[in-house]
């Protein structure tokens, strides 16, 4: 992942009053994020997978994973991060997450049970694994959504691509 210069205004992200304080590369932040992000990511995955037996679950884990990516985006710039995570991949992921959830529900129907009747699926411990998979599905949806919301908000309304709106 490169931290290319962010000359184009579209990708500017900063706290404060917009382009008055453009994004400035900070080696310290970048280094910190480089080290911390993998840990946060792992924590998120852990929370996601261990929701069945301890506090946490797909939703919480998903948010944490999403936050890890936000950290990267804030440190290295929204534009490069967005290029890194291609739009198609994010779309495919979020669809996959929801499809996973519904797929399990429908698999139960296909196995002759009711919708979301995990025990109807003819697999050992189908309930536990079914719930785990559902949690993972939720985790994917949530993490992609968190990232997607961030990107979309950071990009703003499409009109602004053409005109610089400022007080």
């Amino acid at each position: 992942m490169s931290s290319s210069s962010t000359a184009d205004g579209d990708d500017e992200f900063s706290l404060g009053n917009g382009p008055d304080r453009p994004y400035v590369e900070s080696p310290i932040i970048m280094a910190t994020v480089r080290i911390v992000a993998p840990f946060v990511f792992t924590l998120g995955a852990f929370v996601m997978f261990h929701g069945a037996d301890s506090a946490g679950g797909g939703f919480q884990g998903g948010v944490i994973v999403g936050t890890a990516i936000l950290m990267i985006a804030i440190a290295f710039g929204v534009g490069p991060t967005r290029d890194w995570l291609s739009a198609s991949m994010l779309t495919a992921l979020v669809v996959l997450g929801l499809a996973l959830f519904m797929g399990i529900g429908l698999a139960a129907v296909a196995s002759g049970g009711a919708f979301l009747e995990y025990t109807a699926i003819p697999v050992a411990h189908s309930s536990k694994y079914g719930i785990e998979l559902v949690e993972v599905g939720i985790g994917i949806i949530v993490s992609v959504t968190v990232v997607g919301l961030f990107f979309a908000l950071a990009a703003g309304h499409s009109n602004e691509d053409d005109e610089e709106v400022e007080q």
């Binding site: 037996d53 301890s54 506090a55 939703f59 949530v142 919301l149 979309a152 908000l153 703003g156 309304h157 009109n159 602004e160 709106v165 007080q167």
Partner: protein, 118 residues
Amino acid sequence: MIDVLVDRAYFVVAFLLLGIGAHMVIGDRNLVKKVIGLNVFQSGIFLFLIASAYVTGASAPLLSEPGPYVSPLPHVLILTAIVVGVSLTAVALGLIVRIYGEYGTLRADLVSEVSDGE
């Protein structure tokens, strides 16, 4: 009287949060703060429900730990509601960004004045 209040301090706080949130949604002129108010309002409801599940001395509903447990159902409801809340917040903020792009202000009164003229 005091006992009633003390025993139900969580509910009292929940009600006050509802009041504060409602005031922000209705009264604040800044659109962003209206949305913040909506979040406060909703978390008042969350507190109301989570507090209802609480049993002094009980543990969280992790069945691997020894009981008694608090009821898991309100927790589930509120988990869902929190997710709904953040989703709504995101869409609201998107709208605010767009409104600002169109009108250059976040003042609710000015925005409705300008948009009425269209």
